[in-house]
């Protein structure tokens, strides 16, 4: 069970549950400049082809370039330049998104360089030559040559190259802390490691590929969105191409109408036709789509989570049920003394005094918390084990199931109820009936009772409580509003589990959970059509991790767990699952919002371009020129410039993701529709008018 980890190791002060919404990560203007060469390289049609919308723009730009050379004018060249800029801006967005991962990848590569593997049979080979199943010896100061499991020894390992966390961690053979990662450094002692990775597929290799965005697979929703965008592009292509015979017919009918930059006897000019097409097809979202995907992965990496596939990130946004381990995730991970409950006839102070004395040598978090409680509530200070002469401390053993102290004739014990009462009876005492009642009461409330006895007398009970992390209740409330059920997994008995579940505010709990129970629970949820996310670290979690739609393995966990899950949390913080869900949602919302924005923009562009094209042919159409743009040329150029610039303005948003606060679907839809739908209708009217005011000053427009 996963709780063993926390039972063994003091995980230290629990991190505050993060309350800030997902976001952050500003765009540095210098980054745009540095990414420019990469953006230009992406102009290669073989690369552009993968993005159909922008490929059309590039083809259009080539076409207008040819037309501009054949019949040069200020207008033709201005349009041509801005069409090329549109393509470059789109590539820039992708290049910037990729660039953010590059630095991280470079640092990781350094960790990989020139490592030598010392095989147990005495050979020395370069780390790159290691095969699965090889056994290597790593001594103090050496770099672990590949991913594997410790099969002999124990060592402290510096994993900062991967996790960024400078505090060393313990790795030892057997158990759930046996996994080591290639590229990390052994600080002390010596371990024997069996390599589990295939050559070239180490954790670091995968991480590099991931942060660089190399071989990025499109995710299911991205594919679906691409299809929709392609369909819209085809519709607009149709609308524009079929316009030409109609325009020729209309111009011939109004033969007296003057030729303009937009329309002449041959119909709409090639330059304007391309401009109209580029303005209508969803270039904004088309340009930013892949940047959004890369940036989404990057946001996970920044939080020290490695997703093995983009699919998993999207699935995280869809999660309906979160399985969370109680210990370390919902509660602080160790029980704390909350109250001293004396039996009738015993002073509370006397109980506190005895409890504190018995715990002075107890270094477990529970023991420390008893000492602290007695200090804080009863002023029992300045007692150190060393100051007490003739004190003999009795340590806890699995057989006696109690610990305590002998102070001359005072023999004090604390421990499990059955063990301590038995001990008191053995000393000739007759513990009161009341003890059983108190013990039951504490158990019922989800606490752990520790009975304290002095010689033959039971003094009372210490109430140890599982302390729910601050803020968790609110967090689960948020989850509920987002439509996500939280389920607490615990090894506790159902009574205890129910009490803690109620206190933490989770929707359901799974008590006395075995790995099989977990697996069955996940299957049951999935059969009901729900998507399940969970965290785990032990080998026995592996089947459940593999079954879950989103399985986040802790980096401290075993290789088996890491293989089974589809994400690894380098910080090994189970609470992060909640953040992962938010990042997944934010990724989808960003795509949806920018798609809406992109399509809503088209309305204003029509009001700019249609009167510009045809108002000279049919003067009545000038009524559509509600922006009162300067001239046909300036109107069309303004629309094209707006279309290009809006990409650059939205790059930061694409990288950062739209603002996301956990709330219900209706609230989210209303907000995003208002901001990106209505905003998308209004913004281009303002933007195009503004650009028109500037460019009408250019002679020749």
């Amino acid at each position: 069970m996963t709780t063993t980890l926390n039972d063994l190791v003091d995980v230290g002060p629990a991190p505050e549950p993060p309350t800030r919404p997902v976001g952050a990560g500003l765009l540095d203007p210098g980054q745009l400049w540095r990414s420019l060469p990469g953006a230009l390289r992406k102009l290669d049609p073989r690369v552009m082809w993968r993005n159909p919308v922008m490929f059309i723009v590039e083809v259009g730009a080539v076409f207008t370039t040819v037309l501009s050379i054949a019949g040069p004018s200020v207008f033709a060249w201005a349009i041509t330049v801005w069409l090329w800029l549109t393509v470059i801006f789109a590539n820039l967005a992708e290049a910037v998104a990729e660039g953010r991962g590059k630095a991280q990848a470079a640092a990781l590569r350094n960790a990989k360089q020139d490592t030598i593997a010392y095989l147990r049979d005495g050979r020395e080979i370069p780390a790159t030559g290691l095969a699965q199943g090889d056994v290597v010896i790593v001594g103090a100061g050496q770099i672990i040559p590949g991913d594997g499991d410790v099969i002999e020894g124990i060592a402290s390992v510096d994993e900062s190259a991967i996790t960024g966390e400078s505090a060393p961690v313990i790795r030892e053979s057997g158990g759930d802390r046996s996994a080591v990662t290639g590229g990390t450094r052994v600080l002390s002692d010596r371990i024997v490691v069996r390599i589990t990775q295939k050559p070239g597929e180490s954790f670091v290799d995968r991480m590099i590929a991931l942060v660089e965005g190399a071989n990025r697979q499109k995710t299911p929703n991205e594919i679906a969105l691409n299809i929709l965008l392609a369909a819209l592009t085809i519709i607009f292509l149709l609308a524009v191409v079929t316009l030409q015979p109609l325009a020729i017919f209309s111009k011939a009918y109004q033969a007296a109408a003057p030729d303009t930059t937009a329309v002449d006897g041959d119909g709409v000019t090639g330059i304007v036709l391309v401009s109209l097409l580029v303005c209508l097809i969803p270039t904004t979202i088309g340009a930013l789509l892949s940047a959004i995907g890369i940036a989404g992965m990057d946001r996970l990496v920044q939080r020290n989570v490695l997703a093995m596939s983009g699919r998993a990130v999207e699935a995280a946004g869809d999660v309906d049920t979160l399985l969370l381990d109680k210990t370390g995730t919902i509660t602080l991970g160790n029980r704390q003394a909350a109250e001293f409950v004396p039996v009738d006839g015993v002073d509370r102070l006397a109980l506190a005094d005895a409890a504190q004395l018995s715990s002075l040598a107890d270094e477990t978090p529970e023991g420390r918390s008893i000492v602290v409680l007695a200090e804080n509530e009863h002023g029992l200070r300045d007692r150190e084990p060393g100051r007490l002469s003739d004190a003999t401390f009795v340590p806890f053993t699995a057989q006696t199931r109690m610990s305590g102290v002998d102070l001359g004739s005072r023999r004090i014990r604390k421990g499990a109820a059955a063990a301590v009462t038995k001990w008191a009876r053995a000393n000739g005492g007759h513990p009161a009936e009341q003890v059983g009642a108190i013990v039951d009461m504490i158990s019922d409330s989800g606490g752990t009772p520790l009975v304290v006895a002095e010689n033959d007398r039971v003094l009372g009970v210490i109430h140890l409580k599982d302390v729910v992390k601050p803020g968790m209740r609110d967090r689960f409330g948020e989850m509920r509003r987002m439509g996500i059920r939280t389920v607490m997994i615990t090894g506790d008995n159902p009574r205890t589990a129910a009490a803690i579940a109620a206190e933490a505010g989770v929707d359901d709990f799974l008590a006395e959970a075995t790995p099989e129970d977990k697996l069955a629970y996940i299957r049951k949820e999935q059969e009901g059509g729900r998507l399940v996310a969970m965290t785990g670290d032990g080998t026995n979690d592996a089947p459940a991790l593999a079954q879950a739609d989103v399985g986040v393995a802790m980096n401290t966990g075993t290789s088996a767990a890491k293989e089974a899950g589809n994400m690894v949390d380098l910080d090994s913080d189970p609470t992060k699952l909640i953040e992962i869900v938010e990042i997944g949602k934010q990724l989808l919302i960003t795509r949806g919002a920018l798609t809406t924005f992109s399509i809503a923009n088209d309305i204003a562009k029509y009001f700019a371009i249609i009167p510009a094209m045809f108002a000279t042919v049919y003067p009545g159409l000038d009524l559509l020129n509600i922006m009162r743009l300067h001239s046909p040329g300036s109107a069309i150029l303004s629309a094209v410039i707006f279309n290009a610039i809006v990409i650059v303005f939205l790059i930061p948003l694409a990288l950062r993701g739209v603002r996301y606060r956990p709330s219900s679907a209706s609230v989210l839809l209303r907000r995003n529709l208002l901001v990106y739908g209505l905003g998308g209708v209004i913004t281009p009217f303002l933007g195009i008018k503004l650009i028109d005011l500037l460019i009408q000053l250019i002679p020749g427009i």
């Binding site: 299809i227 109609l246 729900r530 042919v617």
Partner: protein, 548 residues
């Protein structure tokens, strides 16, 4: 004010029948029992009524049935001079026969001919009227399959085409047609097998007064959103539509099934509110369109309307401006295409509205069946964009809208603009647009209208254009064929794809598809998509003419 009475009483009547009639339709398409007559039909055709079909088999059945129908009708028209009751009329010319056969099988009822001078009574009754029934049933059946797809929980079988076809025809369309044919006869619609009588008029001129089985064809013309009139003048002819109240009833019959099908959808998916949401989108668009059409016609600018006080050109005095405009809106909002006035004579913007109604894809409420599946496809597209905006893989009624679903829905959307725009452009590029009576923007509207009507299977004509040439008959025939069956195949494929999925339960994180916000969004998406696709063409037609 009296002009508004017409749409308001209609709306009230449709609200009243929504539940009872929708529930009746639901029972027809879900009932387990077969009537004796139906069992007889199944035995005759050789169908095992108890077996279900996958979407592929269903689609093949639809196509096979329709192909046989086209061939049969074509042969019928070509051989009419050798059959009874031909009234001495010759065989129909090959290109007109092709166009008409396709037109009636596709529920379009575009008429490249003049009924009273081209078709004998037998062809009208056994050829055209039969197709009026079964083509309507095919449309409803396909819509029902899509509903079954949404309601399914992982099944593959989506019902049996032959059962759906038989039941919808025998239990819904036929009884209502018999009933309302009698009502129409009371109203003065003719019903006989006479070849007509020759009379001498008061002024001494000779006139041929036609007869025929009109009432029996009239009801299904409206009820099945067919629109093919017995006479060339269609519902403007006093023998088809004699009085103001028969006019009201005709519009009511046009809207009856399309506006009730959302009820079937709601019941099928087990949430009536989903049906209300869909019918609300239809109602918003329909009311908006009717208001605009009536508004443009009653307040329309123009020399003649201002001189005589109303835009009465091309309208019947017994209906008036408002009721004619409302009829025009209803007939194009559905895929009916019957007319009681001449759209060509409307004010420029008033005439644009029927065009826009059809360009919406005829979804408000649309043709029988086709309107609902068109609207559900729009809802799927809306769900996709809106679903992303709430941060989940989009789901509609628990079914995930992913690559395959979006591919099918997008292709559905490509078909109509492709047919309409390519057809219109081709007419101009090849010079065939020259058969339009008018030059300039009005002529452009006439050509655009012809392809919009054919591509959307409406069948109404703007008129003012000669379309019974070989080129037009062939081109419009193809437009009708593609405009009907490509979308149907895509809808059936979508139904199959949805049916395979087990629905995911709804939660607070799921996009609610029954709330006003979503209703407004679907309406908005419909209008914006159409505006973006057709605005350039409209700008050179009715907008150029109407904006001054």
């Amino acid at each position: 004010m009296a002009g508004w009475l017409f749409p308001l009483t209609l709306a009230a009547a449709l609200v009243a029948v929504y539940r009872p009639f929708g529930d009746h339709l639901y029972r027809v398409v879900t009932g387990a029992r077969h009537h004796r007559i139906e069992r007889g039909v199944y035995r005759l055709v050789g169908v095992d009524a108890s077996t279900g079909q996958t979407w592929g088999v269903y689609a093949r059945s639809v196509l096979a049935f329709s192909a046989v129908s086209v061939l049969f009708l074509y042969a019928f028209l070509r051989l009419q001079d050798r059959l009874w009751l031909s009234l001495g009329l010759p065989a129909v010319a090959d290109h007109i026969a092709w166009n008409t056969a396709v037109s009636f099988v596709t529920n379009t009822n575009w008429q490249a001919y003049s009924g009273e001078s081209t078709m004998g009574h037998l062809v009208q009754m056994a050829g055209l009227t039969v197709q009026n029934f079964v083509s309507a049933s095919v449309g409803i059946a396909v819509a029902v399959v899509l509903m079954r797809g949404f309601a399914a929980r992982g099944e593959k079988l989506l019902g049996n085409f032959w059962v759906d076809l038989t039941r919808i025809t025998l239990r819904v369309l036929l009884p209502l047609s018999v009933l309302f044919a009698l009502v129409f006869m009371v109203g003065g619609v003719v019903q006989n097998l006479s070849g007509g009588v020759d009379v001498t008029t008061l002024t001494g001129g000779a006139q041929h007064i036609t007869g025929g089985p009109v009432a029996s064809q009239e009801v299904i013309k409206e009820l099945g959103t067919n629109g093919g009139g017995f006479y060339n003048a269609n519902s403007a002819h006093p023998f088809e539509n004699p009085t103001a109240w028969t006019n009201w009833l005709q519009v009511f019959l046009i809207l009856l099934i399309p506006f009730s099908l959302p009820r079937v959808f709601g019941r099928m998916v087990g949430q009536n509110r989903q049906g209300y949401a869909i019918v609300a989108v239809m109602a918003i668009l329909a009311l908006g369109s009717i208001a605009l059409t009536v508004g443009f016609e009653t307040h329309g600018a123009g020399t003649v309307p201002q001189a005589v006080g109303a835009a009465m050109e091309g309208k019947e005095t017994r209906f008036g401006v408002a009721n004619s405009a409302a009829f025009a809106a209803a007939t194009t909002l559905t895929s009916t295409g019957a007319v009681n006035s001449f759209h060509d004579s409307y004010t420029a913007l008033g005439g644009m509205m029927p065009l826009v109604n059809m360009m919406l894809g005829e979804v408000a409420p649309g043709g029988v069946g086709s309107g609902l599946y068109g609207m559900l496809i729009l809802a799927v597209i809306t769900v996709f964009v809106a679903g992303l905006m709430v941060g989940r893989t989009p789901e509609y009624l628990g079914k995930r809208i992913q690559a395959r679903e979006i591919k099918l829905a997008s292709l559905y959307f490509l078909v109509t603009p492709l047919v309409v725009l390519v057809g219109t452009a081709a007419a101009f590029a090849t010079g065939n647009a020259a058969t339009a009576l008018n030059a300039g923007p009005h002529g452009l509207s006439e050509v655009l209208y012809a392809f919009t009507s054919a591509g959307n299977n409406n069948g109404s004509a703007f008129a003012g254009i000669t379309v019974n040439t070989r080129w037009w008959d062939t081109a419009l025939g193809l437009a009708m064929l593609f405009g009907r069956f490509l979308p149907m195949i895509l809808v059936l494929a979508l139904a199959g794809s949805l049916a395979r999925q087990r629905p995911a339960p709804a939660s607070d994180g799921t996009l609610p598809t029954h709330q006003p916000l979503f209703v407004g969004m679907v309406a908005g998406v419909t209008v914006v998509l159409v505006a973006l696709t057709f605005l350039p063409a409209l700008a050179l037609g009715p907008l150029a003419e109407g904006l001054r």
